[in-house]
Symmetry: C2
Subunit: 327 residues, 2 copies
């Protein structure tokens, strides 16, 4: 059994707990929280809930620690810190800061003979894998990533910060005609606006100036100004009823040429359609926990990413069974 610890018991931490239950060779040993441990009721029977500050005490009880905090402030500090004591995995997803985060975590993990895998999940994660595979096997071509239809937490939060807004949900939606153009192999140049639209469902205070709120959303730089955005004002009841989930997904598509004179076109498409973004991310994290456990046993240390993990490490099957059944 691979003994797993969870640091942070929000949506992602709860997802990891459920994913562990789907993998018979993994067991949840402890949940670490910054909240009062007594306030937490885990789903898993008999699992201990411990103070995050005490985590180092558990270093011999856990094979892989999965960090379930946020990329903005939690992980940049937490991951290098706990990589001193544990093999770790995080889902750090601020793409621009990955090289710096990698460097910090690599140093801490290497000095302590631990293995750390960062930026795991689906983007970065499964999408990254697919970008690398597709570009490697089709070197002449172009790669496109589309996201959605799915809830963007960051964009929903941005709407909530507007005065007069009670709650909001923002869906990122890929433009079907852009997807089709990419699939045709024509390698189109697509602007931000041509690739995705943004659908907002917004609950406002009574008497709020809806026209002003809609304008503020649509003109918000970085978040909405570069997109065709639709704003729908709905009741809190409708929001809770129809927009309660956190679905997401997307597409990685590469088209490229083969043949002596580039006469053949090829399209590689990878897509995800997920009812729950955090539950799927968690499921990926647990599969990679298996890989980290095995690679650590082989003596590997330092920081790695999904790009450094051979697929066989993720499967509960051994090499012979994989070759017989899966190849």
């Amino acid at each position: 059994m691979i003994r797993i610890g969870i640091l942070g018991y929000g949506n992602l931490g709860k997802g990891v707990e459920s994913a562990i239950a789907h993998n018979p060779d993994t067991a949840l040993t402890a949940i670490f929280t910054r909240r009062n441990p007594e306030s937490i009721q885990p789903l898993t029977k008999g699992v201990q809930v411990c103070k995050a500050d005490d985590i180092a005490k558990y270093k011999d009880d856990i094979d892989v620690l999965i960090l379930c905090g946020g990329s903005a402030t939690d992980l940049p500090v937490q991951t290098p810190n706990v990589a001193k004591y544990f093999n770790v995995i995080d889902s750090f997803d601020t793409h621009a800061n990955i090289p710096q985060h990698f460097s910090n975590v690599d140093k801490a993990a290497k000095e302590n003979g631990k293995l750390a895998l960062i930026s795991c999940g689906w983007d970065p994660g499964m999408f990254s894998l697919n970008r690398v595979y597709a570009e490697s096997v089709l070197p002449g071509g172009a790669t496109y990533t589309f996201w959605g239809k799915g809830v963007s937490q960051g964009h929903s939060d941005a709407i909530r910060r507007i005065k007069g807004v009670v709650d909001a949900r923002q869906y990122t939606v890929p433009v079907e005609s852009a997807l089709e153009a990419v699939r045709s192999g024509s390698n189109p140049s697509l602007t931000t606006r041509q690739k995705h639209t943004r659908e907002c469902y917004v609950v406002v205070e009574e008497g709020a100036d809806k026209a002003s709120i809609e304008k503020q959303i649509k003109e918000m730089p970085n978040y909405f100004a570069d997109y065709d955005t639709t704003v729908n004002f709905i009741s809190l009841e409708e929001l809770k009823e129809k927009h309660n989930g956190i679905p997401h997904g997307g597409f990685v598509i590469r088209s490229g040429k083969t043949g002596a004179s580039d006469e053949y076109n090829n399209v590689i498409e990878y897509s995800l359609k997920l009812d729950s973004n955090p539950a799927f991310t968690s499921s990926v994290l647990v599969a990679y926990a298996r890989a980290v456990y095995r690679m650590s046993k082989e003596g590997k240390s330092g920081c790695i990413t999904v790009l450094d993990v051979a697929p066989a490490y993720l499967s509960p099957m051994d090499g012979a069974e994989l070759r017989a059944k899966m190849l």
Copy 2:
């Protein structure tokens, strides 16, 4: 530069030659053939064409040898033989015999400190990867592989063996409603007949009994009897004009559940749409030649498959560049 040799100069060998030209860090050193070398005019300027029997003499001139023979009789003999002298890659695709082939090649390669990667291409190959990734990250669910629309060489050959048939092309076609059922997440049970249909384009001798030929095709055990098959009789001119290519492709789809009570559905789909089956297979082989070269340099020997290769080994980029640009 990675120095590559090609053994066998048919469709696949020619495809490898073109793929090498698409990868600036690879160079074609020599083509080995069982035919008279003088009868072969390679596209690549200055490349030597040598007798297959002399191949061992070139063992210090080639970093990775790519075998481009057939799985039925060539590769079971050739791959273990040349793995004594070279790091090698083949596209052995008789799924049931992979364990035996692996064992034979592993012994030869290990005894001689060489690295051999077998069963590379898209199925086995890219599809295998996707089956393993999808099952590992979504352990509760079902995986489906569909092939086509594409030309099946084996089925075309089977039709050609019928008396009175001049030439034939057979397309394997996935059934759209089956694809949709799988994408819906309902995990349907699908029979062979429900998953694929077979479309045949057949040229017959003047005066041949078409009704009898159609019956022989449709009732042929293993090849056609379990499928809904359509037979179209056309002229040789039409066959050459409209059915000259070797397109192929297909889908690997997994749907599975996540969440504490399996309340979330997820669908992972990987698809390929290829104008030329051998040209794409070749392109995959050359990307894996890069991986074999690097892993061999690191001291790895014996037999491996695509499941044992971390994605980063396939890319011309180094780790830092991959993390900055691709993750």
